[in-house]
């Protein structure tokens, strides 16, 4: 009996190894190890040809903190990401509420309509705005037609913001819908019966109870926005540098390329992201109490 059990245990362990090994290997080799490499690179320096020189230094980080080009990119990216997240939340919450409160047979189709842009190539969706905002584009044609005349709508930070909100909105709506759909709306009636106003009931019952959706949506919007470079290039006209633009340039196009500095920027971006998300989690869970 004991031997049988031992045999079973050994078989279980072998099975677990077979299940785990391919995934563990892939993620360690092609995800964790590369991250370790850029952390190491961030403390190195480079030569005139853009090759990495293995000579430990803190110069990259000092450069980032002391040169306005770099430090400003951090502030600009953080500010733009916060703005994008807040606006997506303000647009997405009512929309998710609308879907969750629609008659049952409409909910799936309405949600599908959110899913289609979510599954559509991000680049294609951003490109679509070029057609609308371009100087000889659709919106300017319309403005001219109604007598306002042409305006410069593209190649500015406003256009970047529109593109980001447009691109990320579906990521906000989906988790919000999931949270609101689980919310028991009879609680709102109970609150009203007890004399709470609609605003009070929303702030003290519905918002805290749908907070997991708010948090998930915000994180899903914030992360890609912080590192974006496509939108600011295609709609913003690459006039000002966001974090993503600088990192991309340092790795691919600068002359000479500077991987150590680019790595330091990427590592610092990860740290900023972790700190901000942790602060956000703490703030939102405290609200719940």
């Amino acid at each position: 009996m004991a031997m049988l059990q031992q045999q079973q245990q050994r078989r279980d362990r072998i099975r677990l190894m077979l299940l785990l090994t391919p995934g563990l290997l892939w993620l360690v080799l092609f995800f964790a190890l590369p991250l370790v490499i850029i952390v190491i690179y961030s403390f190195m320096t480079n030569d005139a040809l853009g090759r990495v020189v293995y000579q430990p230094t803190l110069d990259n980080y000092i450069t980032i903190f002391t040169q306005s080009l770099y430090i400003n990119a951090y502030w600009r990216s953080i500010w733009t990401s916060v703005l994008t997240t807040v606006i997506c939340l303000l647009l997405g919450y009512p929309l998710a509420l609308f879907i969750a409160r629609s008659p049952q047979q409409w909910r799936m189709p309405l949600l599908m309509l959110i899913l289609i842009p979510f599954w559509t190539n991000f680049l294609v969706r951003i490109y679509a705005w070029q057609i609308i905002l371009a100087n000889n584009g659709l919106l300017n044609g319309l403005l001219e037609f109604i007598g306002i005349g042409r305006l410069s709508l593209i190649n500015n930070e406003g256009a970047t913001l529109i593109g980001l909100i447009y691109g990320e909105l579906p990521f906000m709506v989906l988790p919000l819908y999931a949270a609101i759909d689980r919310f028991d709306f009879t609680l709102m009636e109970a609150a009203a019966d007890l004399g709470a106003s609609k605003v009070q009931a929303f702030l003290r019952i519905m918002l805290p109870m749908t907070m997991p959706g708010v948090v998930a949506g915000s994180v899903l919007v914030f992360i890609p926005t912080l590192g974006q470079f496509v939108v600011s290039e295609l709609l913003g006209g690459a006039k000002v540098d966001y974090l993503g633009n600088l990192i991309q340039r340092l790795f691919l196009r600068a002359n000479p390329i500077n991987w150590p500095l680019g790595s330091a920027m990427a590592v610092l971006m990860m740290i900023v992201l972790l700190v901000l998300i942790m602060l956000y989690f703490r703030a939102t869970t405290e609200e719940e109490r």
């Binding site: 892939w26 599954w119 190539n121 819908y177």
Partner: protein, 288 residues
């Protein structure tokens, strides 16, 4: 991803906006607001599609209907090559990440073992790490790996479709695990116990009970992996080498130079493909 509400709460909620058949003021405002958001979401896409049929060479004015841009697109070897590359990379990436992801999901859902928490972190980290960080990390890694290979074998390697595929698999695995784990969670394990009681061995139990029941989840994960790979731009840009361009990278390079309706045409086709994939995943979900 989306679960339908149980029947009891459905009734309570159906009263929502259209309470007892009449529209409340707040409901009306909410409805108008939502319609405007849907317009905001769809206007650009609709315009993009319409202008893939315009004769205007800048693609921003309607000067008559034509299919020229599609014909030109199909005769453009660069674009067609990029489209083919994209499909090959997406297919390989989907197969590999679905297999690896499903195995991982089984391990995480069915076993307790030391280091499980760390494994959990390793699986979910790729979802929260910004793609550009993953891209530059993989770029640096590939450079070092190529140097090492040259040192050992003397062979000079370049970034190509393989490096892109490896990157796509690395970020797709996590999403597959999330989707497959959901279907394993909803799984009634008594079915497996019943089969074991009836004398089935574990191989038979897996292929005849477990696998068919979690198959919708696996297909859902595979579809997600496929779309993620099709849509990916950042990792594709950093990891593809010269002459091995992928569709999103090709579109990006062309948009930066000049806008032509040919890009609208390829975008429309990509849009069509996404819609087919959404429809497929929804059909599968309904069957579940």
């Amino acid at each position: 991803m989306i679960k339908t509400a149980p029947a009891a709460t459905t009734l309570a909620r159906a009263r929502g906006v259209f309470a007892e058949g009449r529209l409340t003021w707040s409901g009306l405002v909410l409805t108008i607001f939502s319609i405007l958001i849907y317009l905001f979401l769809y206007a650009p896409i609709v315009i993009l599609v319409i202008f893939s049929f315009t004769r205007d060479e800048f693609g921003v004015r309607w000067t008559g209907f034509t299919l020229d841009w599609y014909i030109r697109l199909f005769n453009n070897p660069r674009m067609m090559g990029a489209a083919w590359n994209t499909l090959v990379v997406a297919s390989v990436s989907t197969v590999v990440s679905t297999i690896i992801g499903t195995l991982l999901a089984m391990a995480m859902e069915r076993y307790r073992f030391r280091g499980r928490g760390a494994m959990e972190g390793l699986i979910y980290l790729p979802i929260v790490v910004p793609e550009i960080v993953m891209a530059v990390a993989l770029l640096a890694f590939s450079a070092i790996a190529f140097d090492l290979i040259k040192l050992v074998t003397g062979e000079t390697l370049r970034r190509n479709l393989t490096t892109v595929t490896i990157g796509h698999i690395a970020f797709s695995i996590s999403f597959v695990v999330v989707v497959v784990r959901t279907s394993l969670k909803n799984f009634d394990r008594r079915l497996e116990e019943a089969a074991a009681d009836l004398g089935a061995d574990s191989w038979n139990i897996f292929w005849r009970i477990t696998f068919p029941l979690i198959l919708p989840g696996i297909i859902g994960g595979a579809l997600l992996a496929f779309t993620l790979s099709l849509d990916d731009f950042i990792i594709s840009l950093f990891l593809s080498g010269p002459g091995t361009s992928l569709l999103p990278v090709e579109v990006y390079n062309r948009v930066r130079r000049a806008v032509t309706p040919e890009i609208n045409a390829i975008s429309t086709l990509m849009l069509l493909l996404s819609m087919v994939l959404v429809a497929l995943s929804q059909l599968l979900q309904r069957r579940r």
